[in-house]
């Protein structure tokens, strides 16, 4: 496919080093901003988690009440950490796979500044009570529109890269990223429309949006990263092009219809809910297809998972994607939903999605990308290892007990002979376990942030070899 001649865009095939040089400032800025919000979001998470079993903890201040800290935790993690870092990773992946320098660099840096300001303003708004009050959409509409607009501008850069690329075929990661950059602004725009102004209808829009934010924005970016890094680090092509195609269009077709499985038993008309349940079950197809594709690519090279920091995070993320998606399909069935809906089980499920899948994938991507952007190496193998285990053990300690607690809570709730207070009391040990897990996760994030600061500011000596846990294997 021919390439155009926009002055900003270098149309000649360029060396990777050149592309990374152009990507340096916009991508670093996006990732660094994301890490900042990760730390703030972790603090909010700890506060919310502790408050849940110790309600008097900092209970006298309105701006730190559970009902404000908890939504802000979600919003900073989703629209700060995961969206910013995700956008940075996505741009870098496009630059590599389309062999074209990132265009509009000053604009990208500019909107990232605005994006940070919007998040800051939005944080103050939520803590002081100016919330939109809709889960996943707590930022007031005006603030949200600014954020969506920032992502739209970055999306335009992505589209330009698609049209001015220097390769003929589109690698599967590209499909996912282009789709993500189209879907998120559409989602953000539609969800901000004032037409959904009656409560029941708004609930529908709410869960259509929230589920799609995960399914049509973070999931494609996460899968794009998996599709790029797994073959790259293992050093062999992706197993099957046909499966990649099926996986992508399957996700596009079915994920869009999933949202209403959050509304089983609600006053919304049953047949919409039934469509969503069916679509949720259909999701098994693209999920299994992607899992097989990734598994067949890694198979035989599992030692690489041991030695490459990137691959270890990415494979953890890819496996979590399979697990969380299949779990999601099961949760959408009426009989399961009857028990786990309205319980902590769903919160744990959401964290398998946003953390064990998306966040681990982003960590893995950062471990690969940052040395290439900075021409520097990670300072410490040991600290990366510590980060991995803190995150991995932390998220398991978070989700496994809380899902057990959630099922017990749901079963108790559905047994009218058990007083309501018992359904609350029985969850408390699991809520405490979550706080412990939160400490581990936060410790991991602090290590990660420290490593990022070190590599970006190039403190110390430039290490000689790329960071791998065994000298015989080389990441390229």
């Amino acid at each position: 496919m021919s390439s155009g001649h926009l002055s900003e865009i270098d149309s000649s095939v360029q060396s990777i080093r050149f592309l990374d040089g152009k990507a340096r400032y916009p991508v670093l800025f996006l990732i660094a901003s994301g890490v900042l919000w990760l730390l703030f979001g972790s603090l909010l998470a700890l506060l919310a988690s502790v408050k849940m079993h110790a309600p008097e903890f900092l209970g006298q201040w309105s701006f730190l009440t559970f009902g404000r800290v908890r939504p802000l935790h979600l919003n900073t993690m989703v629209y700060g950490w995961a969206s910013m870092t995700g956008a940075g990773v996505a741009l870098w992946l496009l630059s590599r796979t389309l062999r074209v320098a990132i265009p509009m660099r000053p604009y990208i840096i500019g909107v990232t500044v605005i994006w940070n300001i919007a998040l800051f303003v939005g944080s103050i708004q939520i803590l002081s009570g100016f919330t939109r009050g809709i889960e996943w959409l707590e930022f007031p509409v005006s603030t949200m529109i600014v954020i969506v607009w920032c992502i739209l501008v970055i999306g335009i850069a992505a589209m330009l890269m698609l049209f001015y690329r220097n390769v003929k075929t589109l690698y599967v990661s590209v499909w996912y990223i282009i789709a993500a950059f189209l879907w998120l602004p559409l989602l953000g725009g539609v969800s901000s429309l004032p037409i959904f102004n009656s409560p029941t209808v708004q609930a529908g829009m709410n869960w259509w949006f929230a589920h799609n934010a995960l399914g049509l924005w973070f999931t494609p970016i996460g899968l794009a990263a998996a599709y790029y890094f797994i073959p790259k680090v293992v050093g062999r092509p992706i197993y099957s092009y046909g499966l990649s195609l099926l996986g992508f269009w399957g996700l596009a077709l079915f994920y869009n219809w999933n949202g209403f499985h959050h509304l089983i038993g609600s006053p919304l008309p049953t047949w919409f809910v039934t469509i969503s349940i069916a679509a949720s079950v259909m999701m098994i197809i693209p999920v299994v297809v992607v899992a097989v594709n990734h598994h067949m690519t890694v198979v035989g090279s599992f030692s690489a998972v041991k030695h490459s920091p990137t691959l270890r995070f990415v494979v953890f993320g890819a496996m979590s994607y399979t697990f969380v998606s299949l779990q999601g399909s099961l949760q959408a069935l009426r009989s399961t939903n009857e028990v786990i809906h309205f319980t902590h089980f769903v919160v744990a499920h959401a964290h398998i999605g946003m953390y064990a899948f998306v966040t681990m994938m982003l960590f893995g991507s950062c471990y690969y990308i940052l040395p290439r952007l900075t021409n520097w190496e990670w300072q410490s193998h040991k600290l990366i290892k510590a980060h991995f285990w803190l995150s991995a053990i932390g998220i398991i300690l978070y989700t496994v007990p809380l899902q057990i607690g959630g099922v017990l809570q749901g079963l108790a709730m559905n047994n009218p002979d058990i007083p309501f207070m018992d359904t609350m009391n029985l969850t408390i040990p699991y809520l405490i376990a979550r706080s412990v897990a939160g400490v581990l996760l936060t410790a991991g994030h602090l290590i990660f942030a420290y490593l990022v600061v070190r590599i970006v500011s190039k403190v110390g000596l430039r290490p000689e070899a790329p960071t791998i846990w065994k000298k015989t294997l080389k990441e390229t």
Binding site: F66, G67, W183, T200, N256, P267, V346, M424
Partner: protein
Amino acid sequence: MVRNWILLFGIIAVFAIAMVGLTILPKLVVDPRVEAVDYGNTFEIVQGHAIYVREGCIYCHSMQVRPEGFGADFERGWGRASEAEDYRNLTPHLLGTMRTGPDLSNIGSRQPSVDWHMIHLYQPRAVSEGSIMPPYPWLFEVVNETARPNREGLSLPEEYRIPGKKVIPTDEARYLVAFLLSLNQQVPGMED
């Protein structure tokens, strides 16, 4: 170039179809039912709804009763299955996703005592031992026993009293309780 456009078109088309299916269609089906009812929302109720939103009660309380036979909502006395008309046409919606605390669709008829609600909001553990619901002291004023002679303080249990002081609800507390008491599944023109 053609391949680019097919990709972009496909991506937007799958999105648009589902968007119409899950947002526009439900709107066309449900909205007329809600608009047909005159709820006569009072100022207090509307303000109370806003405070409920502001304090994030939704993160622990659902406001949707599941139909009989699906869960034990009915057996727990939380009311009949919720209908689109139950929400007084107030947005943001408060359907909720979590039941750390009980469903509140019908709290107005289950717990009609203003005093109980006031004490519970000021200090949940004063009426409900071991509750993990947060306290909302900023909806109340702590004044000297002798101040505001025409306002009575909350009748708190001994351990939560402050010597020489009394706790009186602010307007915000009154609005919030007015909203809670309005939650009783009595939709005008929909009596069954």
